[in-house]
Structures are given as C-alpha cells and as structure tokens.
Subunit: 407 residues, 2 copies
Amino acid sequence: SIDAARLLGRLRELGDIGRDADGRLTRLAASDTERGGRDRFVSWLEAAGLDVAVDRIGNIFGIWATEGIADRPPLMLGSHIDTVINAGIYDGCYGVLAGLEVIETLKASGYMPGRPIVVAAFTNEEGVRYAPDMLGSLIYSGGLDLDAALATIGTDGSVLGDELHRIGYAGDREPGFLKPHAYLELHIEQGPVLEREGVALGAVENLQGISWQKVTIEGDANHAGTTPISMRRDAGYAAARVVTFLRERAKASNTPTVATVGCMAFEPNAINVIPSRATFTVDLRDPDEARLQQEEAALADFLDTLSSEEDVTISVERLARFEPVMFDAGIVAEIETAARARALSCRRMTSGAGHDAQMIARIAPAAMIFVPSKGGISHNPKEFTGDDELVVGANVLLDVTRKLTQG
Amino acid sequence: SIDAARLLGRLRELGDIGRDADGRLTRLAASDTERGGRDRFVSWLEAAGLDVAVDRIGNIFGIWATEGIADRPPLMLGSHIDTVINAGIYDGCYGVLAGLEVIETLKASGYMPGRPIVVAAFTNEEGVRYAPDMLGSLIYSGGLDLDAALATIGTDGSVLGDELHRIGYAGDREPGFLKPHAYLELHIEQGPVLEREGVALGAVENLQGISWQKVTIEGDANHAGTTPISMRRDAGYAAARVVTFLRERAKASNTPTVATVGCMAFEPNAINVIPSRATFTVDLRDPDEARLQQEEAALADFLDTLSSEEDVTISVERLARFEPVMFDAGIVAEIETAARARALSCRRMTSGAGHDAQMIARIAPAAMIFVPSKGGISHNPKEFTGDDELVVGANVLLDVTRKLTQG
Ligand SMILES: NC(=O)NCCC(=O)O
Ligand SMILES: NC(=O)NCCC(=O)O
C-alpha cells in the first residue's frame, strides 16, 4: 500500500502554492504561481530518482525506467496541477501526486515492472486561462497544431508560448515523444453521484462531449434615462435572454444536458449607459453526441431569432469542441477487479468534467478512477474528499498499475 | 448674437481632451483627462477676464461681476465637463461653453447686467465614476454632506477627495458660497422627441425621478460539467432573470418608465465555473414619483421571490435616489417667449436625463433649454447636434440671460 502521510502531505503542500492574502487558491496555467507548483513537483520527481522531461507545450514527465525495459511503451499515470480561479486543492493535483506516490511505493518495494512507468502533469487542463481545456494532453496526442497552441491568447491577453518561456517550462521534447502503452488517471469525481450512492469508487467508462463557445452581442450605447424601451438595442438585455433561454431549455428537458454561462462582460459597463456590447461564454455538455449537436443547433437558432427581435448583431467563436469519449473496456474491468479485491464498492460511471485521459485516449487505451466529492462541489474552495477516500483511490491506482505493468 | 465660431471651436477643442489612441473620448470625473479639460476651461475663463473660483467639491465658477452689483445674487449658467465612457462631445460641455460664450458676448457688447453672471462646471455630473450623479451640484445645494461625498469610493476604487487633491481641484470655497438668483442650463436633449417632432427647442418644465441601485447576488461556485441543473445556485442566471424581468415589465406597461442594467460582473468569471457572485446596477426612472416607488417595490418583490426560487442571497445598495423635479414656471415661460421672439418652434417637455439644474432647483428658481439630438443618441460617440441647432440654443440662452439680469 502507498504511504498515505506522504501523499496527503504533498497534496496540502502543493495546495498552498498560489494562495493569495485572502487564502484563495488560484494557480492558472503558466502563471508565476503555477511555476511555483511546477518547481515543487519537479523537486519531488528528482528526489524520487525519476528522469524529468518537459515537452514543448510544457507538459512535465517523471519517468521510471529500470534496466532493460526503457524502450518499451510505458504505462502513463497523470493529470494536471493548474487550477481554476478560487479553486480547491484536489482537482488534478490528486491524480498527479498519487501517480508519483504509486511509482515511489513500487520502487521502494523492489518491484520490477515489465515496462516504464511515467507520471505526467499536463499543461492548461482547466482551460480558464487558455482555450481549449486539456490543451497540453490534446497537443500530446496530436490533436492540435503545436505552433497554433503556443500562439493562443489568454483571457488576460497573454500568449501561452511566451508564458511558458517566461516561467522556464518551454521544454525541448516533442509532444508525444513517449507513446503510452496505456494511460490511467485518478481524479476526484467533482460531482454528486458517488457520495449520494455511498459508493467508494467510480470506474469511469465514458466522458461527455464538451462544447465551448464565446458569444459577442453588439447593440447601441444610449442614454439610460432618455431612450424609450422600444428604441433600445440593448446588448446586455439580449445576453440575459440567452442565459435564461439556456437554463429554461436545460430544465425543461429530461436529459443530462448541462449549460453554463460562466463569463460575462458588458461594455461600456456604466450605470447610465445601455450596454453596446456583451461578451459571454457558453459551456454545453452532453454524453450523447447527437444530443449535443441538437443543443448547439437550438442555441444557434435562438441567437438568430434574438438578433432580429432585439436588432443586435451576434457573432460566435468556438473555443473548444470535444466529442464524447469511450474509455478502454479492459482497463475499466481491471479497475473493478482491483476494487473488488480490496472489498470496495465501485460503480461504472460517466465523467461530467473533461480530463486529460480523454485526450490521451486518442493514442492509447485509457480509463479513469473517481473518488467521491463531498456535496458534489468542485471549482470551489469548498471542494473536499476525505483522507481515507483519497488513500483508497491511490491504493487502487497502485493495484491497477501493478496489473498493467507486470513483467 | 453669440460668436458661433468661437463656441463651436471650443466645443471641438474640449471634445478632443481625453481621447484615447482609438479615438474614444472618456473624461471621467476627477481623472487625469478631466484635469486636462478643467485646465483648458479655466484658461478660457481667465482669458475672458472672469474671476475664477473653485469650491471644496471641485465645482469651477467663472464670475462676471461689474462694479456696484457684486453683492447681488447672480444668475448662474452651467452644466458639467465630465463624460461617460466612450462619450460624445456635447453632453454637458455644450451648456458650460455656451454659458461662457453668453458672458463674453454680453461683456463685449457693453451690456451692464443688473446682477453678476456666473458660469459653473459642476463635478461628477455623470455618476459613472462616483455615485450619485449630479454630485457636485447636489453638494452645492446642500443636499449631501461634504465629508461623506469626499469619501465616496469610485467604481475604480479611487476616493473622490483624494482625486480632487491629486488633480489640483480641491478648492477652498465652501459649496453654496454664491446663492443664485436663478439658474439656467442649456443642454442637448439626449432623447428623440425634438428631432421626431421637428421642433427647434425644448423648454424643460420637469425632470423625471431617478433611482439607482447596486444589486449583489451570491450563489455557489461549482463545476459546469458535473453539477446537475437542479443542484445549481447560479448567481449569473439569477442576475439574468432580473435583467429580463425589468425589461418585460417596462415593455408591458404603457407608462414612460425606463429600466436599465448598465453594469454587470460575474465572479469568478471562468468559463467552466458556475458564477458564485453577480453584481449589477439598476437604473429606474419615471416622471411620476408614485409610479417610481411602485417600480422599486416591484423589483424588491421580484428579488425576494428570486432569492427563494434560486436559493441565492441578494443584497441591495442604494446609489442614488432623486424625486421628480418641477422647474420654475416663470423661467420656462421666458424661454418660450425668447424662442417666439426669434421665430423658433419650441415645446414644453420633460427631461429623461438627470441634470445639475435639478439640484440647483433646490436653492433657486431653475429651468433648462434643450436642443435636438440626432436619432436621440447620447452616451455614445455618435451623439450629434448640428452646428446651427447649437448656435440657435446658445442665442436663446443669451436672450433669456439678458432678460433675467436686466438692471
Ligand atoms: N476536471 C476538470 O475540472 N477539468 C476542467 C475542464 C472542464 O471539464 O471544464
Ligand atoms: N445628462 C446626463 O447624461 N446626466 C447623467 C446623469 C443621468 O441622467 O444618468
């Protein structure tokens, strides 16, 4: 079994890197605070005697390759250490640190793996600073042009490639330089299912489709006091209609479709000026690709109608689009077997969140293990999973790792 | 008649102070760019041989007091030179510069007024940087505590008193140091009425009530992909419901009530995070006080229902509240007489915008003259009034000034 104190200690230590004066944790991809997290992670990789490699998109790898097996395709464990704004400490970091923990445990036990084991921390999984999300693992699996990705402009106007250089993580390895034999990711569920059902583990068999769009509505600035309601071309009001449309549609359906408007900005954003421009994001998700397309089409239709009803101009930019992913049935079964062997309850489930595993699934058999999230809360400082639950998950990761790397 | 070229030239010159690289004019109250506008205005006052005075809230006065009449209550002409964000050049500046133009014209003509004539530029009329709007004239008329006003925190976190010091316009005169005999303000209409009816001038007989509130909605941040719609406490969605409620209510009534949400901010403002907080402004106006109170009550009721329906916490802060104002019937009649004498069409009307005249009306008989606004557009760079229309308005201001200062 893994060293629980070491894993939990590191999770807390990493969780303090990027806290501001008010105690809020924000470690956005390729920022100064994330550099601090990366440096700490690399120091742990080195202390564990692993080979450290960084690729051109800033993905970090800790490689354990014993003599004679170095050329075999590795088992890769991983996740990410970037966070959202005002985040919890578990999302991503748990999977990365548990991967390292598994390798150290196996190493110390004298285990002789049949293939290298690699722990990876992928760049910009959250997608809060740069779109799309899972950018580092997407590049790694060949799903996006590297130069285009390095030129990505962030929500703060920064350029990803410049930021990677600045923080010292523009590596020299080509993304994809190690083609995994298999990929395994341990993560908190971030949703309410496991806790509600009292189940210890999720064997994640699929992951829903994700559609991210940025919508810009242009109306006309005018005086709040003198402009009759009938003469307004109010971009802010039109934006509000999109927000309520999405919610009412999602509520009325009895599908698992979710729709979220997370970002919103009005211009000129002055109390007595009718907004001339509103910019906002739409995050649409569905486990079913046909239904996700339907939802996108319904939004497009609504925007069409809205633009004539409110006499506004609407433009849409796609920020991310990923189809639903099926994970590898064999690995999912291994997770269930490992859970059973430890007498742990386990259910197959769908991931509501995006994960690096969904990208690496393009180039290798992949699956995920979930542990419960208290109250289903994530992307929130109240994100919480109990120590025992975290340790249980890491031990199952250990068992499945052993199984997938037998000599 | 006034010197049209001088008036129009100055209007354009002042309109270029505060333009950014993209040509956008923004001269927020007590900012560096507004200091530039103030300095230019003061240089014109000095060149015209007027006594310049600045009071403790930064209101600027140019005083023309000929021998023997200096102690009589003056006729005050005025408006403001601060602007909204991305503004036009006419709002406020036209009234200030026409006031100066009238004084210079009368002075040059050898006119001997029966009382001093003063041109005033009041601080922070727009209310975009500091609330309430018309703050300088409100202080001048004794409607707000000076120390409280100087401590006002702006939308950018600045403190009004500090900013006035910084830009050199924290004067030493006590606000109200000159009690006007009467107050007259020339302004662009900022609405569509005069143009639509083909009328040259408005004799403004009343001004609608203004209610400004800042609403903060608190929900819970959570993951956009994993949180079922039924479990969301979405502050952004709740805010959107307020925006649509206000519009639908205003649309359904057949009253002149207007409601505007001009400012909006989400937190944490991340694409895959359900907003934990939304902050926005509500600008409600009605010429009828009872109806304005009704609208405020309807909003309060809606917020109550919303807070339980969406399981969010809502708090409301009042930023400004002014009852409708009736202007002085005698001055309104003088404006009509002056228009008739120049064979100009003129109608009585209500002001939809707030103006310094409504504050000075607390301490002196006051009224306003409007000229048409093309397309009813204001608080927008497309704000426009033709040169001839501007000159006509300034000449009527000249005539009424003469009438109100006869020896
Ligand atoms: N796991 C996780 O929160 N990923 C971020 C990408 C997303 O699902 O929005
Ligand atoms: N005249 C004018 O635009 N005043 C600003 C205050 C307001 O009416 O919102």
